[in-house]
Amino acid sequence: MTKYLIFSLYLISFLVVFLFFIIIVYHRIQNQKKKKLNELKNEYYPIIEDYMNNKINMKETEHKLKNELNYETMMELFKPLFKKYTERNINKLQALIKQTGLNDYYLEKLNSNNKKKKLKAASILGIFEENRALDKLYQMLNSKDELVIITTAWAISETGNMDNLNNIINSLFNKTDMTYEAITELLVNFNKKICDKLINYINQYLANTNYFKSHFAVKDYKLLALFIDIFGFFRYKKSLTTMKKLLKRNPHEEVIIHILKSLVKISEPIEIDLTKYLLHKNWVIKSQTAKYISKINNSNYLEILRKLLTDENWWVKYYAAKAIWNLGEIELMIDIIIKDKPGANICDYILAENNYNYILEERK
């Protein structure tokens, strides 16, 4: 017993001392790595900057980078630049990266048996928009591993290639635990051009309501909400007709909410009577409709908006009052406040929010 205790005591003591020093050494190493990377940035970013500003050519830049840096370090340097440069400059940066051979390096890594290396390569090739990786990425999409599916789908979305969009949506919905909001986030990577494809999907659904079930095995409202969010994100005006058609079908409440949110973002009028949405039992639908009206300044709904000033939900009242304010009906609001009519409270609030309460003082 004593022997074992003494042995374990030695072992634990060793581990304590070892860990104590490991922490400090590890900390120092990480600090030095950080310092080194900063030094490299200071040294090479001006060169890349000169290249981006056409002061030196691609060959010369490549030569300077390749002579002194390995591929992994080069990637460390390039990664932050993807956030820095705009879409126009990204192509120039990508051309330089291609020239250095980084794409080929990571294409090779994509065939690695090591999961970490493989996924890292997939992710990077996505950022490079490398179409040569697509075949392999499509293969990886058939994996059962959630991390592999998500990383691959993300990489494909960044390449912008939509040949296998059905399969991507299907895999994400049915083989991962992602919610439709997360899938939307991924799909916007395909860029604005995805919208036409989505309109096409919705049109097929409108022609045959079993379309989504048979093609994606997903509930209609989830897919519709997802697609509509993307229209809103890109402020895609061509989707207005599609959204109008959908509204006429009396869709699921969730779909109505997403259509209204997208309409708020697009801020263009749509030829449809909004009365029933202003009078809807769901406060989100009411408030989003009022918000939409405040964006398009449609005075046809003034009377209903006025009634909504006394709604029990704050956001409904708020957006109704905001819509009235945006319609320029300041006198109406002042009248409601001074005569203490229903809705005086929220009108008073909107005036205060816009620093107009001094008018009230004058009138009083």
Partner: protein, 465 residues
Amino acid sequence: MIYKILLVLDYIAIFYFFLVNITYIILNILAFFSIRKKRLKKKILDIDKPFSSEFYKPLSIIVPAYNEEKTIVDNLKSILELQYPEYEVVVVNDGSNDQTLQQLFENFNLKAFTTNYKAEIKTEPIKCIYKSTSHPNLIVIDKENGGKADSLNAGINMSSFPLVCNIDADSLIDSEALLKIVEPFVNDWKVVAAGGTIRVANKCKVNEGQVKEVNLSKNFLVRMQVVEYLRAFLFGRVGWASINSLLIISGAFGVFKKKHLIRAGGYNPNTVGEDMELVLRLNRKMKEFRRNHKIVFLPDPVCWTQVPKTIASLSNQRKRWQRGLGESLFYNIGLFFNYKHGTIGLIAFPFYFFVEFLGPILESIGYISLILTFILGYGNQQIIILFLISSILLGILLSLSSLFFEEMSFRKYEKTKEVIILAITAVLENFGYKQLNTFWRLIGLYELIVGNKEWGNQIRSQFSE
């Protein structure tokens, strides 16, 4: 006779020692792999998500405030600057008798407001509801004093959005913390609640409600708590969460799906451990509702809080935590060794019961009986000494390992000097501080038995600029 009693007690102490340390070592290993996995995922999926926020569900932040005149303005400024697409902030003034409400009036242009307040969860009467004209998403509820849980329930009643986040009025959260803590709700439909990490803000430089520079306090007691928080969050909660057995989400920073929160009945106002009690009940109710669920912990989204600087306030806090723990466990005793609740019922709950709740008694018995055995010359004295030394060394090892997890993941303390100080603190806390903690927890247990329901006074100070 005495010899026999001491022998039994020694065996209990040894059994307890093995139970605690084996569990902690397993938790440590689980936490290590969990953090490594998260790191790997972050490395692989290190994707810039400039649009991410736009699709996240709207969220209501509830800030219960009782006598928070010194921190409420900074805290609210920080919350109102958070990166999140659509959110509202509901501050609940819980009958403060200082200038909390006055501070809110002066800084946020409040206007009294009439609204239909739906009391889905019963609370103390509401005196008035205010809206800010400078921030339309800010609501202030002024209510009769009813305690923290009651304030949180009032905030839930007032909230409009599907996700509810509770943040303490004496805490600051990182600008991206909300996006990070909501991410699991987006990436996994099973998630019903998520908790973030709490870190010590004492001596950190704060500007416009954000922690700009992380510094280590010179106060010895605060340093001890830094190590303690690292241990509790980086290996305790990460470890439990990795086997889907998280029993607590800190009251200072957590997000819940509102519909489940209401279905579960909201926070329990009859306990001072309302945060733990809620998570336990949520786990229980989700099973009853047959809802496949996950309660997750994220070591990354950070909430900064000021920890007690004096022995008196720290002991009050620890006694309260112990009472809260006991109350939470007893309110949810149905989970105890209940196989229907899987690892929660069979491992996590019994562990919390025997180690966290009864731990102070068993530890104290252990210390006393071993010392007595040694003094009275019973048994093998060499073994007793070796045993005591190894228990202290294991404690040090566990504290150091959480410091190592911090280094391999977040590295908030950048200066080497501070890391060395923390490592030394991790050693020193085992000599006196841990034993003191056991003593406070023991008093906490006694207070629970005699029915003490006091929250105790908390001394607040402003964040350093």
